[in-house]
Symmetry: C2
Subunit: 340 residues, 2 copies
DNA sequence: AACACTTCCGAAAACGTTTTCGTGTTGAAA
DNA sequence: TTTCAACACGAAAACGTTTTCGGAAGTGTT
């Protein structure tokens, strides 16, 4: 078990100083062609690789970016991570991923842990609990220390930083408009409680679409799911006995549960009722019927977030350029859960 | 933008030496109660947190573990990561995740990058391409440097290290046995090409189950999918026109494509034909019909892998204990794609 | 012979910690 | 008054780099 080779060991072995070795390896002109060759040959032979930790300490840069997500077992986030990974790696950055599990405390803890030197900056989608609490001290602190922060998907308006979002309102509006276009007249909405920002915005899109078409919103047709874990039953109960010919659900699962509920009630999707979901995951693609959804282009969002962050990291400390907010387009993917 | 507080700054501010500050914060008895209080109060007030990088350099430990997976957009791997995260965080470790995208080169690159000080050890599921090439120099090198390595799921027999696997053969055998038990007599197998170790093992389980029941394996009923991206068509073509009353597929996707193919041919699952998949993902749960699958318990595998790794990390450098191989049980989850 | 210039290399500081080893001051015992 | 232990603290080394600065040879110019 040979330990890692260091400059010092090379120096001793070749009977020169550490500084000479360092310079030789970095092709400094200060070192004669002769010794330079000798040192490089030796280094290559024994496969010398500089120690990243030492470099980080010296340069005060770690070349890694921290990603904090609420949960990974969710197709959307995995696509975002893919996007981040890709551009990060292209530019020589590592990606370190932690999960908050939607817990405020874990978000704070993880952030503090990474902020102490492990990371140059953050990409973050805030935990549900954090949105609910409205306590953002950890975010402010990180920003205050000069660490760039990019928020995506679930962002916080009050915090000034770069952001990558989709236009939830417009995405939802288009989805509902599509339902209207195919002659749905009693369109239900299955959404989340209001403190989840995306739920709120998508609800707003739903309402706007109705209004623009001169249709009356009906409180009876709006379900705000309280508890994700029991959403299936909630949805089933909500849907039964109502006269509905279209459903807009703010995520994949709600949409699927809706379809299942209809099936059990003897209603055919899309013949009797059309369903549109949000987030274009595997589920939507493979389900029968395949689901018409609003696609969020997660990989694209991740890539943009990473680009934004790296830009901030590599811009001269000089002055924080203005903060940007990138809105990535959503697109409606028509499949078999809505009739043509 | 206040920069991070360091020991040196505290020392200057309070007019003591750096060592005194360090000792005070670590509750050394060498420091008088008086100054200790003063220093701690100051540190708390200004929210001092030690710099991880400096600690890493000093201790030659990073307290982070590197996870290398072939792809993240795959429910099984995300559950594994969850498991790893959880036990790692409990023990104060960070988790850094990189993807090989099933590419040999990326696997090597990422590994080298992390091996240079960023990580104390690795948890890895090897890339498809690596298995195909049979080039393991990067793994050997890492082990040689004294960095513990735990492989999971897709492991390499020739490499000596801790491993966490499922018994693919037995899992597959049980699945096929179940099909036999419910009176299937013409059971097809949809698997991968042989160099993917799990595909090979599951194929073996299929064959063993048949043999134990005195049934003849029929080459005609075995499909080895070459190209994942075009698996749907391959499967459709394979399945059409054959007399089949049961299918065992080595993953979720293949199983779903099989069901779809049957549907299109007017065959009912499970009435006319039963289907069993492998890997218990969201897809299997929510699909209609919901799929009977062999569950791999990904979170459990991740947790075990992390435990194994941390044990190696924290055991006295003294001697490498013997390598362990943990086999986590699979379980057959019966749902609606197989008749009762 | 005196001087200036290159060329090539090493010493040392710096990044932020922890830890070992002194060392000066006190108070008490002899 | 001397001696010694206990106490409280500081200096310095170490982890592995990079970089600035200074200096010893060697070369060339008057």
């Amino acid at each position: 078990m040979k330990k890692k080779l260091t400059l010092k060991q090379i120096a001793k072995e070749l009977d020169v100083s550490v500084s000479t070795v360092s310079k030789a390896l970095r092709d400094s002109v200060e070192i004669s062609e002769d010794t330079r060759q000798k040192i490089k040959a030796f280094a290559k032979l024994y496969n010398y690789k500089p120690n990243n930790i030492a470099l980080s300490l010296k340069n005060k840069k770690t070349k890694t970016i921290g990603v904090i997500i609420p949960e990974i077992v969710h197709h959307f986030f995995t696509t975002v991570i893919s996007g981040i990974e890709q551009v990060a790696n292209e530019r020589g950055y590592n990606v370190i991923i932690v999960m908050s599990n939607n817990s405020f405390d874990k978000e704070v803890l993880n952030m503090e842990m990474l902020a102490n030197g492990s990371t140059d900056g953050f990409i973050l989608s805030v935990a549900k609990e954090t949105q609910q609490k409205g306590d953002y001290h950890h975010l402010l602190e990180v920003i205050n220390q000069g660490m760039p922060l990019v928020m995506f998907d679930r962002v916080i308006d009050e915090i000034e930083c770069d952001k990558v979002i989709i236009d939830d309102t417009i995405g939802a509006k288009e989805a509902v408009q599509h339902l209207i276009d195919i002659q749905c007249r009693n369109i239900a909405l299955i959404t989340t409680v209001d403190y989840v920002s995306v739920g709120k915005l998508r609800t707003q899109g739903y309402l706007e679409a109705l209004e623009e078409n001169g249709m009356q919103a009906n409180e009876e047709l709006i379900l705000k799911v309280e508890d994700f874990d029991h959403s299936e039953e909630e949805i089933k109960k909500f849907l039964s006995g109502k006269k509905i010919d279209g459903v807009f659900a703010v995520n994949e699962h709600f949409a699927i549960y809706a379809v299942k509920a209809f099936n059990e009630n003897g209603l055919k999707v899309p013949d009797d009722v059309s369903v549109v979901g949000f987030t274009n995951g595997e589920l939507s693609k493979l389900f029968i019927p395949s689901l018409t959804t609003v696609s969020q282009h997660g990989a694209e969002m991740g890539a943009q977030a990473a680009r934004l962050l790296i830009k901030k990291l590599e811009t001269e400390e000089g002055e924080d350029g203005p903060y940007e907010t990138i809105i990535v387009e959503t697109s409606l993917i028509q499949r078999n859960s809505t009739k043509r």
